[in-house]
């Protein structure tokens, strides 16, 4: 027997949300599509989230968009939207950066609707994406208190990764009270970049901050750090959190209250 309530739900959308800036979603997608090909977008009353391992299961992506960050957010019941990221990218190409974007899904779970509206409201485009049925487990990294947390400009992070990437495969990150040091040792030679915490705070976005419980010294794959650098356009600053024998967390925040994109990368054993 189908209850009345359920009948009502079936006719309207289970999930509907509007974001003023399509560019945010576009940038998020750019930042994860090299690591993940298909993923479930979990929609619940709290917001929209995604958690997925990259295909070689070395790193993990975790993205959260809080409900309060949306212009409008309505979720009648939790749903998982299985999306092929390459297909979604194709659809998002049709949205202007300043368009607003509305995402809708019904409870049949076989398609999702995207509506793009220009700022001047004179252009409205609608797209429908066929959803996938992705059978996967929900994975997460438990929250922890990190020994060292480094905050730095995203552009700086991106530059270090691309500079050192040409030298070798792995980077040693050592954090002390005075500095954070990135060292690479490759076939053609070696190199390092050392950042000191900024003493003068001119622009808050160019600040390097280190908060330390105890010094750490760990090795990571540069290739993956470079994959993470694709998220730099999402935020001016990036936070690297490290603890011995624990994955590195690289976090990009989408402004206050909006949400974040986090990457976790397993350390290499020396």
């Amino acid at each position: 027997m189908v209850s009345k309530e359920e009948q009502n739900l079936a006719t309207t959308f289970q999930f509907e949300a509007r974001l003023t800036q399509a560019s945010l979603i576009k940038k998020i997608l750019e930042a994860i599509k090299d690591l993940v090909t298909d993923a479930n977008f979990d929609c619940s009353a709290e917001g929209l989230s995604l958690q997925a391992m990259d295909s070689s299961h070395v790193s993990l992506v975790s993205m959260v968009l809080h409900a309060q960050g949306f212009e409008m957010f309505r979720c009648q019941r939790a749903v998982s939207l299985g999306i092929n990221l390459a297909s979604l990218t194709k659809i998002l190409k049709c949205a202007g950066n300043d368009d607003s974007i509305t995402l809708r899904a019904d409870d049949k779970g076989d398609k999702a609707e995207f509506v793009f509206e220009s700022q001047t409201q004179d252009r409205l485009s609608e797209f429908e994406l066929k959803l996938m049925d992705i059978d996967s487990e929900h994975l997460g990294i438990p929250d922890t208190k990190y020994s060292a947390v480094v905050e730095m400009p995203s552009s700086e992070y991106r530059r270090i990764c691309s500079d050192l990437g040409v030298m070798g495969d792995t980077v040693r990150i050592s954090v002390s009270k005075e500095s954070v040091k990135f060292q690479v040792d490759g076939d053609i030679g070696k190199g390092s970049v050392c950042l000191h915490p900024s003493s003068v705070v001119d622009k808050p976005t160019e600040v390097v901050k280190i908060s330390l419980e105890e010094p750490v010294d760990m090795i990571f794959s540069i290739r993956y750090l470079n994959f993470f650098a694709k998220a730099a356009p999402l935020s001016d600053t990036v936070t690297l959190s490290l603890s011995k024998d624990f994955p590195l967390q690289v976090e990009f925040k989408f402004g206050e209250q909006m949400g974040y994109l986090r990457y976790y990368l397993a350390p290499k054993i020396d």
Partner: protein, 1065 residues
């Protein structure tokens, strides 16, 4: 299971009673090192030969060799001579060694200019004098040059106008080795013939093997019957061999029966198949320097007997009894090995077989005996006191490729390694005994990895029994294979047809067969075969290439109408016969002008051959003999009822066909004995012309018909669009008859079959339903399609053959499309059996020697790092599957061991399998049928359900925690409601979801139980653990996979917090 249990038990009880009394005897014999006594019951029965009663002795010859004696006591001659030893069996199964005396080898040279026969004695003296200067002939007793005479004949190569007979000198020498030495001197012009001018001589037939020379001279064929008149036989006083009888005879008294009529029968041949087990150290493949031989299993049969003579396993240390086999235990390895030598001597097998005995078992035994300093061991042959020596050999053959292997001096025992036979005659995915037995016998076999063997050996008598059973099975299977594939019968017939000893068929290439035929025929016709310089061992220089066969450009498509196929029967042999193409009819370009135009034929490639009226070619005669013999054999086969005779006759007609086809190859082999590219080029040129002629004739005589494809010796004809099978067959027959008339005899175009429907993909790739009669189709015939290729995973072969079945047999295009979609959907959801995705490649050289990155090599390095011990070794086939990796990671780095993948639940790169393996072959098949819609096979609804597996290993996995999600709709369940199986929305459907998951668990349990039972059945025991790790067996993978699935399903099930019994594994 229950019904079979009691008889087995009875068996065991009975066996153990016998065993008790036997055990005592065995123990006593072993104690006294009286090993021969142990096996006396297996010896050949003593049947008198009957020569005393004046009966002639008839022997089936199986092997021959020769020895050099300093003086021949039989001939009462005190000069060095070669004595040919023939090893054979009488009709009653007695083994006889025949020593044949008096035959001297010879060769020919051209006569010196202005030769006068009066000078023969002088020349002989000169030659003898020069020969004596060679250090290598010093030991020779008596003269080296035994005879020098004039021989009137012709050279095989070139027809010379007017066909004059030419004088040659026939030089007979004392020993086989002298031939080469004297021929070299003469070729260099290094002999002073007194008044004759010093010159380089042309030699003829100097390269013929001594034994072949002997066989040609006595008209003896391989595996043929020889008759020894009773009054000519001499029986030596002293026995020099393990054979039952020994006879001496002069070679001219030998009667050799060509294999025809009553001489087609065979004698009881003893075949021993054996297998050894070694106790390796953990992680290293056994090495004779360190590792013991712990068991040798023997399976001895005699042809014509349904029961084996012996099933015996020799073990080191105690071993529990085995029903139906005899176990003999030894306390030391040396005793074990010595006992085996006694076993060989007593049982006296004619043929030794096994699986990879040539490159593993025999070398291992010999090397091990050497390490143990067992001076009594290496006497495995049939002659007393002749040591078995091992040599590395390298066989380079255009047909078989280059193989390195070992050869043994086993005087009189023919080694027929089933692995070598299979590699030669069959193209298989894998040559492991497991997969071969599955392929041909339909049986899986338990595979105990060599690292477990030591463990079992060090256990107790029951674990050793287990090993012994396994070892016996490995000895038994090669014989089963030999029987099933009729390898021995077929090879014996091949030896008979081509006239060479049985052992040569395996140790030499294709060419030796033609060499033998050519020499035999040439000898009968007075034609001498010139020795080609550098022939045979040409260093890398390739002969000139010539144009091969023609291919009529295929008109691709799916033909839903009968397509008639017209074939030229035995194309190349019939061309050679029709146009009299031969070495002996080939006219030099400069000589053509002296011939009348009606006396020769010019081939399309421009070379001339005289007509048969002038001289009939030797090759034509050989081919005529072979083909008419085949016709007779086929006729007899049709009439024969006795299954054994039928298998012999079938083997014979096959051997005749193989030999006839080898003749063409012989003329073109640039590294062969007598290459002549003009001949092979002429043959292919005629072939090309004939295909073209056929095409135009068909299309002109049958309006509206169309030749859609043609290759080498066949054309495919579409007569009309609307045509029944019957009409098409009638037209095909008519066309074949009409067109045959336009070609010279014996070239014949035959209509044999129709394809209906027919799918023509591209040249050399097609599939069709084959009809030879109108009632039912014969089979589905596929050429060059992935069903048979080895470099793919099984999934591809399975899908393709199923698709073809649906398209061609059921004619259900939609069904085929649905099937493909379903398979793709299963693949993406990880529901496909992993064993279907395994590709395996052989690690043929050390990993460092590979230039390019290949998947199996990269994986080998990975495995080696993981555990050097269990890593595969050189020559192993490495199975692998492709797993997901980084976006930019090359495929070879993503190869992984299938078992490791199963154990760690690694995600398979299903996309890769879809795009790189399935897509192309499927597109090829479907494009002619559904056109551009093929892409719809790979996109759409069915590709939208995927499964992302969570591995249990790898970088980040150590740190992640699985958060609970709803079993109904997969949405995450908030922390607060932890431990709930369902989200609040799905709660309403709890009962049905519960039922579904319970059903899953039940289904996996059922499957697991079934697979486990299957493995127990294969293992032959229900009381022991299944140890098998047979990576060729699909059951093995499925068992592992279901085990995993069952664990996962039970875990889900337990979330409902209803207590179920703990899992059964």
């Amino acid at each position: 299971m229950d019904s079979s249990a009691s008889p087995v038990e009875d068996d065991i009880i009975q066996e153990s009673l016998e065993y008790e009394s036997e055990k005592q005897e065995i123990a006593e014999a072993v104690e006294g090192s009286n090993f021969e006594y142990l096996f006396l019951s297996y010896a050949r029965t003593n049947n008198p030969l009957g020569t005393q009663q004046g009966r002639n002795l008839c022997i089936l010859q199986l092997d021959l060799d020769f020895e050099i004696v300093e003086r021949d006591q039989f001939l009462k001659d005190s000069s060095s001579a070669a004595v040919v030893r023939i090893y054979g069996v009488t009709e009653s199964g007695s083994s006889v060694l025949v020593r044949v005396h008096g035959f001297r080898p010879f060769f020919f040279i051209n006569c010196p200019v202005n030769f006068d026969p009066v000078d023969l004695p002088t020349l002989k003296g000169c030659l003898e004098k020069r020969a004596r200067e060679l250090t290598s002939v010093h030991k020779c007793q008596g003269p080296v040059v035994r005879d020098l005479e004039v021989f009137e004949g012709r050279s095989l190569l070139y027809f010379v106008p007017n066909d004059p007979a030419v004088q040659y000198l026939k030089i007979t020498v004392a020993l086989p080795t002298h031939i080469r030495q004297l021929a070299q001197l003469l070729e260099r012009g290094d002999v002073d013939f007194g008044r004759y001018e010093r010159t380089r001589y042309l030699t003829f037939e100097a390269s013929v093997d001594f034994l072949l020379r002997f066989m040609i001279e006595t008209n003896m064929y391989g595996c043929s019957w020889i008759e020894l008149p009773s009054d000519k036989c001499q029986f030596p006083k002293k026995q020099t061999s393990h054979m039952q009888f020994e006879v001496d005879i002069h070679y001219t008294d030998l009667i050799c029966h060509p294999p025809h009529g009553e001489w087609l029968r065979t004698a009881p041949i003893r075949i021993l198949s054996f297998d050894i087990e070694c106790a390796g150290r953990p992680g290293v493949f056994p090495e004779p320097e360190h590792d013991q031989v712990i068991q040798i299993a023997n399976y001895l049969t005699e042809t014509g007997k349904s029961e084996p003579i012996a099933r015996t396993v020799l073990t080191l240390g105690s071993c529990a009894p085995i029903a139906g086999a005899r176990v003999v235990s030894f306390n030391s390895e040396s005793e074990l090995l010595e006992a085996w030598v006694s076993f060989l001597a007593v049982t006296d097998p004619d043929i030794l077989t096994g699986y990879n005995i040539v490159n593993f078992d025999l070398p291992y035994l010999l090397n091990r005996a050497n390490v143990l300093r067992l001076s009594t061991f290496p006497f495995l042959g049939r002659l007393i006191g002749i040591r078995t020596k091992m040599q590395d050999t390298r066989l380079s053959s255009s047909a078989f490729g280059t193989h390195e292997s070992k050869s043994f001096t086993m005087n009189g025992r023919v080694i027929v390694d089933m692995l070598q036979i299979l590699v030669r005659d069959y193209k298989l995915r894998s040559y492991s005994l497991n997969s071969v037995s599955f392929e041909f016998l339909g049986e899986q076999k338990e595979d105990v990895h060599h690292s477990i063997i030591t463990e079992l050996f060090h256990g107790n008598e029951n674990t050793r029994r287990r090993l012994a059973v396994y070892c016996l099975k490995d000895a038994y299977l090669p014989q089963r294979l030999m029987e099933k594939l009729m390898s021995l019968t077929n090879y014996m017939e091949l030896a008979r047809v081509s006239g060479i000893p049985l052992a040569w068929l395996l140790s030499r290439g294709h060419m030796i067969k033609v060499v033998s035929l050519l020499h035999r025929k040439g000898f009968a016709e007075g034609l001498l075969i010139p020795d080609m310089k550098n022939a045979g061992h040409n260093s890398g220089e390739e002969g000139e290439s010539y144009e091969g066969a023609t291919v009529i450009e295929p008109k691709r498509g799916f033909y839903n109408m009968p397509i008639a196929t017209l074939d030229f029967a035995s194309l190349y042999p019939s061309i050679m016969m029709a146009h009299n193409i031969c070495y002996s009819t080939f006219v030099r370009k400069s000589d053509v002008q002296y011939l009348k135009p009606e006396d020769y034929i010019r081939s399309p490639s421009g070379d001339c051959f005289v007509r048969p009226t002038i001289r009939k070619g030797v090759l034509s005669k050989i081919l005529e003999d072979l083909l008419s013999a085949r016709k007779i054999a086929k006729k007899e086969l049709a009439e024969a009822t006795d299954p054994f005779l039928r298998s012999v006759l079938n083997g014979r007609q096959l051997a005749l066909k193989i030999s006839a086809n080898a003749v063409y190859g012989f003329t073109g082999a640039s590294r062969g004995k007598l290459p002549c590219t003009e001949i092979s080029a002429s043959i292919t040129a005629f072939g090309r012309q004939m295909i073209e002629t056929t095409k135009s004739l068909v299309e002109s005589k049958f309006p509206s018909s169309e030749v859609i494809y043609g290759d080498t010796d066949s054309v495919m004809v579409k007569f009309r669009d609307e045509l029944t099978l019957e009409e098409s067959m009638a037209l095909g027959q008519q066309a074949a008859d009409i067109i045959s008339q336009s070609f010279p005899k014996p070239i014949k175009l035959e209509f044999e079959k129709c394809y209906f429907p027919y799918l023509l993909i591209q040249k050399k790739r097609y599939a069709g339903l084959l009809w030879t009669k109108t009632q039912t189709y014969d089979k589905m015939d596929c050429k060059g399609i992935e069903t048979v290729r080895r470099d793919n995973c099984k999934l591809v072969a399975n899908v393709i053959s199923k698709v073809l079945e649906k398209l061609l047999i059921e004619r259900d295009v939609q069904g085929a499309i649905d099937f493909v979609k379903r398979t793709i959907s299963d693949l993406l959801q990880n529901k496909v059996d992993i064993s279907l995705l395994v590709v395996s490649k052989e690690l043929s050289k050390a990993a460092a020697d590979y230039d390019a990155n290949q998947a199996h090599v990269t994986l080998y390095k990975k495995l080696y790092q993981r555990d050097a011990g269990s890593a595969p070794s050189l020559g192993d086939r490495i199975p692998y599957v492709t797993i997901k990796g980084r976006k930019d990671q090359p495929a070879h780095e993503r190869a992984e061991d299938p078992i490791y993948v199963l154990e760690h639940n690694l995600p398979l790169d299903t996309e890769y399998y879809l795009k790189n393996m399935l897509r192309k072959p499927l597109e090829r098949i479907f494009r002619p049928i559904i056109g551009d819609k093929v892409s719809s096979l790979f996109e759409g609804e069915h590709t939208r359900s995927i499964t992302v597996t969570t591995p249990s290993t790898g970088g980040i996995m150590r740190f992640t925690k699985v958060s609970v999600s709803c079993l109904g709709c997969r949405t995450p369940i908030p922390q607060s409601e932890n431990e709930q199986p369902l989200c609040k929305y799905c709660k309403a459907n709890e009962a049905s979801i519960y039922e579904k998951i319970l059903g899953n668990v039940r289904e996996y349990e059922r499957q697991y139980a079934m697979l486990w039972t299957q493995c127990q059945r294969c293992m032959g025991s229900i009381c022991q653990d299944v140890l098998c790790s047979n990576s060729d067996c699909p059951i093995f993978y499925r068992r592992r996979k279901v085990q995993k699935d069952l664990q996962d399903a039970s875990k889900q099930f337990q979330r409902f917090a209803i207590h179920s019994s703990p899992p059964a594994w």
